[in-house]
Symmetry: C2
Subunit: 122 residues, 2 copies
């Protein structure tokens, strides 16, 4: 008996559009798409994927769950994401080494300082 | 240049406690732990992990992001999770084949009907 993390599922006003946006961010594939539900993943055998589920209500508060993303180049990725339609987000983070952005539906995420496993670095 | 999904980060009132709860759910390891920030993952080389970050404010609304979990046995897993302190959650889902639960800090997640890749089934 076991249970596995299948997907992170995101309430979305426009699931196909937000799914394609995140697929471009992460270089993921769209593995399932219909009007009310879209899913993306690294490939169809890799879990968790990210699913987008249609809701009618817009976001009203800071999300309690968010993505942290590990870039190879923080500045370059922030520039790329802003050009794609992300926006800078102020959730009271103050001066921190990561950059807080929000996706086109307002979901916060952080672009970290590039991180490598200590055994990769040494 | 690339960016990778490093972790799903969860605002938590008690990060070490909630991290250990989720590690037990998913059979993950605690890969980092301090009072204000804990992280779990399948192992320290597998991403995304799940991180828990201390906040003082409690949850006030349904989360817009949630976990979907794929069990080998839905009923047995729901029983196990309820015994661990999960609670059934009503987010207006009505009659659906998945079971909506909430973790000890109220974060919703779904226990799906067991899913196998079509190529595994055939």
């Amino acid at each position: 008996m076991s249970i596995k993390w299948f997907s992170l599922t995101v309430d979305a006003v426009d699931p196909p559009k937000l799914a394609r946006w995140w697929a471009e961010v992460l270089d993921y594939q769209v593995v399932f798409e219909e009007d009310s539900y879209s899913a993306i993943a690294k490939d169809e055998w890799t879990f968790p994927g990210i699913a987008f589920n249609r809701v009618t209500e817009a976001k009203t508060a800071k999300n309690r769950l968010h993505w942290d993303l590990n870039p190879t180049d923080q500045n370059a990725e922030v520039e790329r994401l802003l050009a794609m339609g992300a926006v800078k987000a102020d959730i009271g983070q103050g001066q921190v080494p990561w950059v807080v952005l929000a996706d086109p539906e307002g979901n916060e995420f952080c672009v970290l300082v590039p991180w490598k496993h200590p055994e990769e670095v040494s």
